[in-house]
Amino acid sequence: MPDSAAKTNRVGLEKKDYSGSKSTLCIGCGHDQITRHIIAAAFESGIDPYNVVKTSGIGCSSKTPAYFIDKGFSINSVHGRMPSVATGANAVNKHLVTIGVSGDGDTASIGMGQFCHVVRRNVNMVYIIENNGVYGLTKGQFSATSEEGSLKKGGEVNPFDHMDMCTLALDMGCSFVARSFSGDAKQMVNLIRAGLSHDGLAVIDCISPCVTFNNLPGSTKGFQWLREHNVSLHEVGFVAPYEAEEVDQKPGEEVSVGMPDGSHIRLHALSEKDYDPTSFHAARQMLERDRSDPDHVYTGLIYYKQDSHTHDQVLQLGDKPLSLLNEKELRPRQADFEALIDTFH
């Protein structure tokens, strides 16, 4: 992490160069915390803001791309279909840095199919699920990620078991699966930074309380619940190749996970001494434990695999964006064309 006193990052930009317009969400919304974490992560990682593509669906969460990195291009698409739009945009120009923001309604219900398939294709992007267990913009219906027995505004109890996007992502073959909490700035910023460095799709399921509709003491996606039940698996640090190594060095158990761009995720063990996020089985067990243990919410880097095969690699895309190819590059030569037409006689 760069020196917090530093005014500019490695590309010479200030943090305000990553800002967006003013949020119109409710005061205290978890989503606004995440917006700040995205800004901090992009700043600290020195992302070129003009190169950022922000994609979203519909809902409170999907409004937030307007609130960060306004030098980036944004496409706020239709409900639950952000993944397909991101897939198309990403294929045109693989150098774009794609940040997808979605919600639990957008991803776990209407958009579950597209979510599964964007994971399967491993589109190179960070996919943040701003998960509050409730439909905010339509005024407080339970969503599919809300735990059974959770309370929402008015005291209604959720009768259904929940869907877990981390489990689904893992099962779909996702190579970067994290769960976080909007109130844990340090963990979230470093997870986003790691996601931005990751080659492939990084899913961050971030619990992000809805202060208006789902924030009772018995709301399992509420602030109080998270403060009381959040268990960080580890302290997440992130060190880019150009950053000083001395940061975040603490005595005790630490795992360092290397990334293809030379970055390292440094995990300082907290609750789980031996947790190894590079083990699929450990990740699977952790998510099962998380589901069967309603008294704890485990957050941190759940799973990471380095050898992912990204969609742009599968498509064998070149350096030049598809948008810039010209007639000469796209049309066969006339002699070849005529020879082809001859075969139809």
Binding site: T55, V78, S84, A91, V92, L96, L322, E329
Partner: protein, 603 residues
């Protein structure tokens, strides 16, 4: 037998689907085409992989009529399940070639036809011990028998076989040998003078090609600079995307680096395929998808997003018979209304409606220009009949014009103009300027949304701003009429009876018009080639005493668009509607006009 009927008849070959008759049928049709005679093959196939009946029609027409004829003069009966019914459809004086193993070979119930029973399996058996291969070769036996009996040129047939199987020498030899055996059998056992029908070489097809509409569409996309395909398989559209991907592999892979100058993604459904197309179009690629009615239904929400957020993209609708799953392997023109206003609110789309391979190729190519010029979705409406059947066509031309990339501001242009509002009507034509993601200029970025937005792409619920925004969109689409293909008019300019049609009914209408003119009815025919409708359509209706709208749907969907545009002329419009799923023939048009035209045309 008296003199032969030359080059004017239809061959109908009835087989079981999955029996591998497709290549034999193509070889037969192509051989006649190569002999210089116009042909129109039509594959009538079931929505099934193996075991259901299928028919392949080859209309041979020196008069150059390429619609389905509606009659059968020469029948090849290979399918026991349909033989009895099939034989009844044969025209009196017709010729039946029937598998001798079928019971109808002995008892066919017709005394007005000529019957030749052929031991297809026995002849094929000599060439292949393997049962499966033998079944395939039985189809080549009828090619041989017909070659002899219809006087096809064996040299031409052999050359077509060579071209069909490319470098597979053994396969070529085997097929040529089986054809020869079919010929030898016919020579030995039948008297070809007893067959009333014959093909004689002509020079009608020199310089022409035989191509499926979907192949022409794929070529149009290639030459139109399409770089992104997001698609989901559905009959009868799949061959557009599959054909295009084959062309991409051939022409868009860098020989040195192996890098692709295209991206093709098979999506999880049609919603996703249009989502991908819009993502790619937004990012600056020329993007397309192809589907059919059910897929279009699913694309509704995204279509409205593309319209309102003003994102270019091309959607091919290869129409099939609806409603619902309908008849997936039968043809119709039933998606006009749906595509025109696909999505909620005041959404409207530009439709290009080509007829025949040359136009399909041309419109497919230009669809990308229109999409980028008008920053909107362009729907190219074809159908199963012209999409999946081979059609005789002029050669497709190498394009001379460059891509029209529309109003895109790059970094240098932004530097020069010094201002940018994504949705501002700067030029007064309703078409705003856009920038592409990744443009490194402070003016370039904007926020694309399907929610209400002002000229600067900022969120708004302001009623005046929203009214102005949707009014501008209306102006933009209306303005496109100056660029989209105008209707064509043929026939007697003084004729007071008019026919209006579009798409694949072109062939049936041409034939019907000739037949009606022969009956003394002076006709004019207009073919619509795009929607919104041009003023010329209204003028045409005004000039005629009566208009017959020929459409392949139940409700007269194009007639509805016409009447909305010119309600005062509604009384002039009569509808000839044919929607059972078969390719249209001239007969229903001739019948409808003949039965009512006297009321309107006074001597």
């Amino acid at each position: 037998m008296s003199s032969k009927i030359v080059n004017e008849f239809t061959i109908n070959i009835a087989t079981v689907n999955g029996s591998g008759s497709a290549s034999s049928n193509t070889i037969l049709a192509k051989s006649i085409f190569r002999m210089g005679v116009m042909v129109s093959p039509k594959n009538l196939f079931p929505s099934n992989i193996a075991g259901m009946p299928t028919w392949f029609l080859v209309r041979v027409s020196e008069k150059q009529y390429l619609a389905r004829s509606g009659t059968t003069e020469v029948f090849v009966a290979m399918n026991a399940a349909t033989a009895e019914k099939d034989i009844k459809t044969l025209l009196p004086g017709g010729v039946l070639f029937i598998d001798e193993a079928l019971p109808q070979a002995k008892s066919h119930g017709r005394d007005d036809i000529t019957v030749f029973a052929v031991p297809f399996a026995k002849i094929a058996k000599g060439f292949a011990p393997d049962v499966r291969l033998r079944k395939l070769l039985a189809n080549m036996v009828y090619v041989g028998v017909l070659t002899e009996m219809l006087s096809l040129d064996q040299g031409v047939v052999n050359k077509v076989i060579e071209d069909q199987f490319g470098s597979k020498q053994k396969v070529i030899k085997l097929n040529q040998d089986v054809v020869a055996a079919g010929i030898a059998f016919a020579k030995e056992n039948f008297d070809s003078s007893q067959c009333r029908y014959a093909v004689e070489a002509r020079d009608q097809t020199a310089g022409k090609i035989l191509i499926e509409g979907n192949e022409a569409a794929a070529l149009g996309c290639l030459m139109g600079g399409c770089t992104f395909v997001g698609w989901y398989p559905i009959t009868p559209s799949s061959s557009v995307c599959e054909g295009l991907i084959d062309l991409f592999k051939k022409y868009r892979v860098d020989k040195e680096t192996g890098e692709h100058r295209y991206a093709a993604v098979q999506a999880e459904d049609e919603l996703a395929s249009l989502g991908q197309v819009l993502g790619a179009g937004w990012a600056g690629a020329r993007a397309m998808t192809a589907t059919s009615g059910p897929g279009i239904s699913l694309m509704g929400e995204f279509a409205g997003f593309g319209y309102f957020a003003e994102i270019p993209g091309v959607v091919f609708d290869i129409q099939r018979a609806g409603p619902s799953t309908g008849l997936p392997t039968r043809t119709q023109q039933g998606d006009i209304s749906m595509c025109r206003s696909l999505s909620h609110g005041d959404t409207e789309h530009i439709l290009l409606i080509p007829a025949g391979p040359e136009e399909i190729y041309e419109f497919s190519r230009r669809a990308f220009d229109f999409a980028e010029r008008f920053q909107t979705l362009i729907f190219v409406l074809s159908d199963l009949d012209q999409g999946m059947n081979l059609l005789t066509s002029e050669r497709l031309e190498y394009p001379v014009d460059d891509f029209d990339r529309g109003k895109v501001l790059d970094k240098e242009a932004l530097e020069k103009v010094g201002e940018f509002s994504r949705y501002k009507d700067v030029d007064g034509d309703g078409v705003p300027y856009r920038t592409l993601p990744g443009t490194r200029h402070p003016l370039a970025p904007y926020f694309t949304r399907g929610s209400g937005h002002d000229e600067n792409a900022n969120y708004t619920e302001d009623p005046e701003v929203h009214t102005a925004m949707v009014d501008r969109l209306k102006r933009k689409i209306d303005g496109a009429i100056a660029f989209t293909p105008k209707p064509t008019i043929v026939g007697d300019p003084s004729g007071k009876v008019g026919i209006i049609h579009y798409g694949s009914t072109r062939y049936a209408v041409t034939e019907a018009r000739h037949r009606l003119e022969a009956e003394g009815i002076q006709m004019r025919s207009m073919r619509i080639r795009s929607v919104p409708l041009h003023d010329e359509v209204i003028e045409f209706v005004r000039d005629c005493d009566v208009i017959y709208m020929v459409e392949q749907n139940r409700d007269g969907q194009m007639a509805d668009l016409l009447i909305v545009k010119a309600p005062a002329l509604a009384a002039k419009v009569k509808k000839i509607l044919y929607y059972g799923g078969m390719p249209m023939s001239a007969q229903p048009i001739v019948d409808a006009v003949m039965s009512s035209v006297k009321e309107f045309v006074h001597a």
